[in-house]
């Protein structure tokens, strides 16, 4: 069974790194968005099974994006994992309160990304 994952991240380096990590899981189709607005367009238009979202991005930050996703009936139930440099507990709590399911801090290990993706997509 194929799963569609959206990566919303303004750093090409991070996008490539996450793509690399996700290649280890079979049956994943990965789509990239380079900022919050691009992410919002893509998630409103197509179906995704999971979104990996950075917080600090130009045009629209990740927290705003999460809030908008959760208020859109078409995609409000999509699992969301934040992957961010913001390591303070308040940032984590805020993201989870807005509707994120998981919160990872950079620099992030591949195995952590895979653990979270497996958990949110409910795959082995």
């Amino acid at each position: 069974m194929s799963h569609r994952v959206l990566i919303v991240e303004d750093s090409p380096t991070m996008r490539q790194l996450l793509n690399f990590a996700l290649k280890q899981l079979r049956g994943l189709e990965v789509v990239e968005a380079h900022d919050g607005i691009d992410g919002l367009k893509k998630i409103s238009r197509d179906h995704f099974d999971l979104a990996l979202i950075d917080i600090n991005m130009p045009l629209m930050d990740g927290l705003k994006l999460v809030k908008l996703i959760r208020s859109d009936p078409r995609c409000k139930d999509i699992p969301i994992a934040m992957i961010t440099t913001e390591g303070a507990k308040e940032d984590r709590d805020r993201a989870l309160h807005l509707g994120a399911n998981e919160y990872l801090t950079k620099p992030v290990q591949q195995k952590e990304v895979l653990r979270v993706v497996r958990h949110l997509l409910k795959i082995d």
Binding site: A21, G87, T105, K106
Partner: protein
Amino acid sequence: MDKPDRSDDRQNLLARGEEFLQVFKKGAEFTQELLRENERLRYKIVQLEEKARGLEETGSNVPDKKLIEQIRQLEKERRQLLDKFKEVEAENKDFASRYLEIEEENNNLANLYVASYQLHSTLDFKEVLQIILEIVINLIGAEEFGVLLLDEKTNELKAVATEGIPKENIPSVKLGVGRIGTVAKVGDNYFTDDISEYSATNPLEPMVCIPLKIKEHVIGVIVIYKLLQQKKKFSELDHELFTLLAGHAATATFASKLYSESERKLSTIQGFIELLTK
């Protein structure tokens, strides 16, 4: 009249005496029979005891011996299986530990590959600087840092890109002067002794200073003042990334700078030629 009474009594007495003798005789016979039966049973008991003693010493032990031998054999096999199980368990632990090592190595290689790929993916100078910043933020986990390049005319290191700190806050540094200048001159990495104790009070004394060098020719440095809150120390991967940055970031920066300058010169020359040919 007395004489007939006495003879009756005598007859009664004799009859009773006879009767008593009969009973006595019967009792005696019964007792003798009991004694004979007793003797017979005693003999039987002795015979049975002898037979039981004979059985213990011979004949019926043979099946017991076989069972004992079988039990010994099974015990031996059980011990061998247990030993084998322990061997396999130890091997599994070894494989599990090796798997974790390989997984971490894989993670490290992926980071190094991506960093290297991105650094050499463009010839635009500003883009290369941006990629260096991204690598230091996302892969190493620094919050405040800068990239300084050496001006070979003035022999001064000047900040060309920063993150978390304004460019103006990092003063120019003469080659060979202070911590930064020494690293640029000597070409060796600098790390502060204790990251947890370090405080970024002086921009001339960074926590980390990495020379950007092509072979032994230093073209600049990366200086780090503060790490992200969740980053407590440097890992083996971080040191490998620093080594990669020292080399690959240097060549990428140098090549992109040369390319930018040559592009600029080319447009200038083209402009001149157009002017001359008009």
